[in-house]
């Protein structure tokens, strides 16, 4: 089985994240880049499926030169090879542009299964899996907390507000995963050393048949009009128990419509 995992490098959520004033895009140089956390679960799931069913795991990442660190980590976890979609023309692409570019790369790589995290910690649109499925003409199985494959059938448990739905489709398919699905492994020393020898292919937009007028900031369908720093967090409400603490806590929760 040919599994492609899409991974994204995002700024470390533990550091201060900023937008660039000149084009209102994320300042990717200002913060340390890390693997988008949910994508690590996607890599882990891909590796487990490979261990159970055989095949090959390819990492696909679209991003600047720095994204190679993220690719290396996924390779150190155990993926077999990687494709780095890297072109200055892709800078500033919105979700539509990104899904187009990534889908073009996926068509070039070929796949039985595409796995990705259900959202990224930077933009948090959570739309990429659905957009990719649409562009690839493949079924989408999103928010998966469990994946099973039998022959060409794929079954997932899709988390919902009330529990989960059982969803079934046939391969090739696109799956997005949530953190309940597994416990991602940490790269071992052997994995780190092996990663150095694994092939990483770099594709520009021409290599992946990506039309320049469909991607990049200038061709985005969404536009950041303005932005401002998040206001500092206000002090919380303190309820001191004077015999009626429980009732007042309940009142507070009711006023916020939690209960």
């Amino acid at each position: 089985m040919n599994i492609v995992v899409c991974v994204k490098q995002v700024p470390d959520t533990a550091t201060e994240r900023k937008l660039r004033s000149e084009d209102k895009t994320l300042d990717r140089d200002a913060a340390d880049g890390v693997v988008n956390e949910l994508d690590e679960y996607a890599v882990e799931e891909a590796l487990r499926l490979k261990e159970a069913h055989g095949g090959e795991v390819t990492v696909l990442s679209m991003g600047p030169a720095k994204a190679t660190e993220t690719i290396r980590k996924a390779l150190a976890m155990g993926a077999d090879k990687a494709v780095h979609l890297h072109d200055d023309a892709l800078h500033g692409s919105d979700a539509l542009g990104t899904s187009y570019a990534v889908s073009q790369a996926l068509k070039k790589i070929g796949f039985d299964l595409v796995i990705l995290g259900s959202e990224s910690t930077d933009a948090r649109t959570g739309m990429l899996a659905a957009m990719l499925a649409e562009r690839l003409g493949a079924p989408q199985l999103t928010l998966a907390s469990k994946v099973e494959i039998e022959g060409t059938a794929i079954r997932v448990e899709r988390i919902t507000d009330y529990g989960y739905d059982k969803v079934e489709a046939s391969l090739p398919a696109v799956v997005s995963v949530v953190e309940k699905i597994n416990e991602p492994r940490y790269p071992s020393f052997k994995g780190i050393m092996a990663a150095k020898k694994k092939p990483v292919e770099t594709l520009g937009i021409a290599d992946a048949d990506i039309a320049a007028d469909q991607v990049g900031l200038a061709n985005s369908w969404s536009e950041v009009v303005d932005f401002a720093a998040a206001p500092p967090r206000a002090a919380g409400t303190v309820i001191k128990d004077e015999g009626d603490g429980g009732a007042r806590a309940a009142e507070f929760l009711a006023s916020k419509k939690f209960i």
Binding site: R72, A76, Y186, P187, S188, F189, K190, G191, I192, M193
Partner: protein
């Protein structure tokens, strides 16, 4: 000094320590409970096999890699760091160095995966720094078996559910010069005649496993001897030389953990209208702590580099152990002071660091023993 793989390994262990160890270890520590689940996950990422060759199930790395992993773990917690240190440098390494191929095949794959832990039974209740002179444990050959009698004290990893084997140093005869002949014998867990006492109640390292062992006519096959008969003394001297570099790495981790915690606290704690980090009294403490951690790190890097390169490293290892354990103790004291009353509370990591630091100046050679070794290496008259 570090190559790319070492840097990446260090990062990988740093993430593991922060994400897996830090959130849970305080509770294990409080309950004096061995953290099996954390150890299982350390095993899954290959930490127990770092310096073990791939043919025995290891990672094919080197002792330097092990030291980097130890430092990163100890930045967060010393109990798990010492569990790894003892399992690898005292448990697996002697078997790797002195064992027969059969012994290696029997024990190393499980050890490298962290599925079984090895321990090294050297110190005795009356031993300590005078390890050879204080040794009373004997092993005598009888009908193709070693019969072991005696007891061992402060043996790390010797009583966990996953302890597989203890290498026991014992007197196996007398030399011509009248001194004891010491050999090392592998005693699998559960061998009749070996009694594992209940865990010690310790000042620190509370989530690690430390026991007293006693042997009463404990019989193991003759082929369980590790290496040559009579080589026990030389074996544990070499094991301890290496272990000193590892303990130095653990010490540097603790010293750095004190800096990490103090930096965070100095930025958030306010007194007299501003963050306490604005005050020079706090700044200078943290600066001194950083300087100690940094210089101690250079000392152990240097010793580890020489060891890995096959160069003599006895003096460098002793210096690294001496200065690093000193740095750990000083930093723990200063970090506790930065935290004030909160530093005296067990729920804060610095409270744990304070309790964990002292043993670093004692275990695997006291600071006094390190000074003796350095004096000898300097050629001072004895």
């Amino acid at each position: 000094m570090l190559n790319d793989e070492h840097v990446e390994l260090r990062k990988s262990v740093e993430e593991f320590a922060r994400e897996v160890v830090a959130p849970v270890i305080g509770d294990y520590y409080e309950r004096c409970e061995f953290p099996y689940d954390v150890v299982r996950r350390m095993g899954a990422m290959g930490l127990f096999g770092l310096p073990v060759p791939e043919e025995y199930g290891g990672m094919g790395g080197d002792y330097f890699a092990l030291c980097l992993a130890l430092e990163e773990l100890a930045r967060v917690d010393s109990s798990v760091a010492i569990t790894l240190e003892a399992a690898v440098s005292l448990g697996a390494m002697p078997i790797l160095r002195y064992g027969t191929d059969e012994q290696k095949r029997r024990w190393l794959p499980g050890m490298a995966a962290g599925e079984i832990l090895g321990a090294f039974g050297l110190t005795e209740p009356g031993g300590g720094s005078d390890v050879a002179g204080g040794m009373r444990t004997t092993a005598a050959l009888d009908g193709g078996e070693w019969v072991i009698n005696g007891s061992k004290a402060f043996i790390t990893n010797s009583g966990t559910d996953i302890t597989g084997v203890v290498a026991v140093a014992a007197i196996t005869g007398r030399r011509e010069d009248g001194r004891p002949e010491i050999s090392t014998i592998l005693v699998p867990s559960g061998t009749p005649g070996m009694t594992v006492s209940k865990k010690y109640s310790k000042v620190g390292w509370s989530a690690s496993d430390t026991r007293e062992l006693s042997f009463t006519d404990c019989r193991v096959p003759e082929e369980n001897i590790l290496g040559e008969r009579g080589r026990g003394y030389a074996q544990f001297l070499q094991t301890l030389d290496e272990g000193r570099v590892a303990i130095a790495a653990v010490s540097v981790g603790l010293a750095q953990g004190c800096v990490d915690e103090s930096l965070r606290y100095a930025r958030e704690r306010r007194a007299f209208g501003q963050e306490i980090g604005c005050y020079q009294a706090i700044q200078f403490k943290i600066v001194d702590m950083e300087a100690r951690a940094h210089t101690a790190r250079l000392a152990y890097y240097h010793a580890a580099e020489r060891m890995v390169a096959g160069l003599p490293f006895k003096k460098e290892a002793a210096i690294a152990k001496l200065v690093a354990s000193n740095a750990a103790m000083d930093n723990a004291r200063d970090a506790t002071q930065v935290f004030g009353g909160y530093g005296f509370m067990n729920e804060f990591p610095v409270g744990r660091f304070y309790r964990d630091a002292k043993i670093l100046e004692i275990g695997e050679g006291t600071s006094e023993v390190q000074r003796m070794l350095i004096a000898r290496e300097l050629g001072l008259p004895t």
